[in-house]
């Protein structure tokens, strides 16, 4: 009896052991799979993005990009992340910025991205969000104590100046050179002066004796021809290294040179790389692999249309509790006919 009764006992024990073992294996497997697929397991976050302005046609940061471009860039970039975006339009209005912030607090968003130029409103927004326990990420204009993602006008200007100086040295060695800075040089924001300073630094680094003239269009591109024409006439024997503050001005400068029969006497670099200067396979634009001989050497990319791809990864890191740098800067780059299709691959073909 004992033996008989004893014999099943170990079997029962083994069954329990096996069950425990299988349970353990299943648990480990589940944990392993969970560890392998963190994104799939990650919760979805609600992130608010309060844009500077979404008014149609209004361009931002002295470039040709609009608020719509920034908005769409965020929407596209969000596809890669477990993020539900809530969009606000700050309308360049401090009161609206505060109202947007209050609405987002009411919605209990997980993170707030503030793109707003008014320092007072940004301070108030930062304070309110902190009180509500909502982390803030600032774009281009600081919010106290919040990490900032920002363009670097001075660095961008230096890239443009460097490119022009390099061209002048290589192509017009020994000839009289003139540095020309043209565009909206006197807007309220300090970005323009920093960009101009960068251009000057870039040019002077290689051409320290270069004479420079600044032509302020006051935002009126129609004045480019008149202003540039006067300078070209006054410096009839000089080759002009022209830094245009934005792409529209760059194109207007080229047209002005064409109009005065001085196309061979100028080289131009713009700022921005918006759609006015680069296109696809079918809509030939100034920066195009088939237009390598253009006197528009290139334009310095500001990537406002891709802010989402830079800013949302920072937001996700913050939401995961990681530390992010207090200042992250746009990686400006000179875009030319040689790399425009690499940087902005067109998709207008099948």
């Amino acid at each position: 009896m004992t033996m008989i009764s004893a014999s099943p006992a170990p079997r029962v024990g083994c069954r329990r052991c096996a069950a425990r073992r299988w349970f353990g294996i299943a648990l480990l497997l589940t944990l392993f799979l969970w560890a392998l697929t963190p994104a799939a397991q990650e919760r979805s976050w609600v992130v608010a993005f309060a844009n500077l302005t979404e008014e149609p046609g209004v361009t931002l940061e002295g470039t040709g990009f609009t608020g719509r471009d920034v908005h769409e860039g965020f929407a596209l970039a969000a596809r890669q992340w477990p993020i539900d975006l809530v969009f606000y339009d700050n309308r360049r209005d401090p009161q609206r910025a505060l109202a947007n912030c209050e609405d987002a607090i009411g919605r209990k968003v997980d993170l707030y991205i503030q793109y707003n130029a008014d320092a007072g409103a940004n301070t108030a927004v930062g304070r309110q969000l902190r009180a509500a326990g909502i982390p803030v990420l600032a774009v281009n204009y600081p919010v106290p104590e919040a990490p900032l993602y920002t363009l670097d006008n001075r660095a961008a200007g230096r890239i443009a100046g460097d490119a022009l100086a390099d061209f002048g040295q290589r192509v017009w060695r020994g000839k009289a050179l003139l540095g020309v800075l043209i565009g909206h040089l006197s807007p309220a924001e300090e970005g323009a002066s920093q960009r101009a300073q960068g251009v000057s630094e870039g040019l002077k680094r290689r051409l320290p004796a270069l004479a420079m003239v600044s032509l302020d269009t006051q935002g009126n591109t129609a004045r480019v021809g008149e202003l540039l024409g006067r300078v070209l006439t006054a410096h009839a024997g000089s080759k002009a290294l022209i830094a245009a503050m934005d792409d529209t001005t760059a194109l207007a400068a080229k047209a002005a040179l064409e109009g005065t029969g001085r196309l061979a006497d100028g080289a131009i670099v713009g700022h921005g790389v918006d759609r006015s200067i680069h296109g696809g396979m079918s809509d030939r634009k100034e920066l195009d692999p088939n237009n390598r001989g253009s006197i528009v050497l290139g334009s310095v990319a500001f990537y406002l249309d891709r802010y989402g791809y830079d800013v949302l990864p920072l937001a996700v890191r913050m939401l995961r509790g990681e530390t992010v740098p207090m200042r992250t800067v746009t990686r400006h780059k000179l875009i030319t006919a040689a790399n425009v299709f690499i940087e902005y691959p067109p998709y207008d073909m099948q």
């Binding site: 799939a40 929407a75 596209l76 596809r79 890669q80 696809g280 396979m281 079918s282 809509d283 891709r306 791809y309 299709f341 690499i342 940087e343 902005y344 691959p345 067109p346 998709y347 207008d348 073909m349 099948q350």
Partner: protein
């Protein structure tokens, strides 16, 4: 002077030749074909007699469902692409009929680019640098008229099983559907990324699964804009919903022969990474020899699948043995 000109011409040819043959080491850029170093066929190698026979079991009622759009003037085309027919011979003129039986005839010339309408992307269509499927350095195999490797003539048959997934229904069921107002019937909006999980959900919806040698057809609803030509051509071409990299890589693992859908590029546009160009084409065609079929008419088969809860069919598509071509417009029928 004449001698100088000849020497100059020879030099130009030699220099140009040097550039033309300057090539990438394709073994570092593209993986080898699993069907061997001489393979130019790619994924249609998978369509064996057994695969075709098994696919034949899908024909239960003999019902034929069109899956191509008519190729006519005005359908969405990009940029300078064109497709045009010209009636080039007619005997309808008085006195031109032949013989006592008064035979008359007509013929036409089709001036068209190959990647128009419902069409197949061949293996020579997409590369990385100068490297194409199976590490072929394409710079050495092109002439003014065509490719001398990877042309359509190397493709085997597409007589296999088709499996449809209805992404409109998948996204609606998941509560993440975002449509486009220009579509008269529900369609996913441009930029909508279809993931591997979405495709799996689509298969599960009709209790289907993929097997080696299948052709996957994805209904996004975007084809509704194609049908509205020419009114919605700009919207149709302005982007599209489609598969992303995750889905493409998963499909490679499923060992399918081709993937098609009702958009002009099959993959999501704008793409997931703005600095990548048609990366799904690279993954499927260049790296794995899997064909892409674009502008497939999917709505009828999607309706059929919804009505019968069966999403599989016999995939009937013939591709002309057009030597050296990178692709061609095709006629597709799903037979059930």
């Amino acid at each position: 002077m004449k001698r100088l000109a000849i020497v100059a011409a020879v030099l130009i040819v030699l220099v140009a030749g040097t550039f033309a043959f300057a090539q990438t080491d394709c073994t570092k850029v593209v993986p080898p074909s699993p069907w061997g170093p001489t393979d130019q066929t790619g994924a249609t190698n998978r369509v064996t007699p057994a695969i075709t026979k098994a696919a034949g079991a899908e024909i239960k009622e003999g019902k034929v469902i069109p899956m191509s759009y008519p190729l006519v003037d005005g359908v969405p085309l990009f940029g300078t692409r064109f497709t045009k027919t010209i009636l080039t011979a007619t005997t309808l003129a008085p006195g031109a009929a032949l013989g006592e039986n008064q035979l008359t005839y007509m013929e036409d010339t089709w001036l068209s680019q190959s990647h128009v309408g419902t069409h197949l992307d061949g293996l020579g269509h997409i590369g990385r640098k100068d490297c194409y499927f199976n590490q072929i350095a394409m710079g050495k195999f092109i002439n003014q008229n065509n490719m001398t490797k990877l042309g359509l003539e190397h493709i085997k048959t597409f007589a296999t099983r088709g499996v449809l997934v209805d992404m409109v229904k998948v996204f609606q069921a998941a509560g993440k559907f975002k449509g486009n107002a220009a579509c008269k019937k529900p369609c996913l909006d441009k930029g909508t990324v279809i993931t591997a999980a979405d495709i799996q959900a689509g298969l599960k919806m009709y209790n289907a699964s993929l097997r080696e040698g299948d052709i996957l057809i994805i209904h996004t609803g975007w084809g509704d804009l194609f049908e509205q030509f020419p009114a919605q051509n700009a919207t149709y071409n302005g982007g599209e919903p489609g598969i992303g990299k995750d889905a493409a890589n998963w499909l490679v693992g499923q060992k399918i022969v081709a993937v098609g859908n009702d958009t002009w590029g099959v993959e999501v546009i704008p793409g997931e990474n703005p600095k990548e160009a048609f990366i799904v084409h690279n993954i499927l065609i260049t790296d794995n020899g899997i064909h892409i079929i674009e502008n497939v008419r999917t709505d009828l088969m999607a309706a059929e699948a919804a009505a019968t809860q069966r999403s599989t069919f016999f995939f009937s598509m013939t591709v002309p043995k057009a030597v050296g071509l990178t692709g061609n417009f095709v006629g597709i029928e799903g037979i059930r």
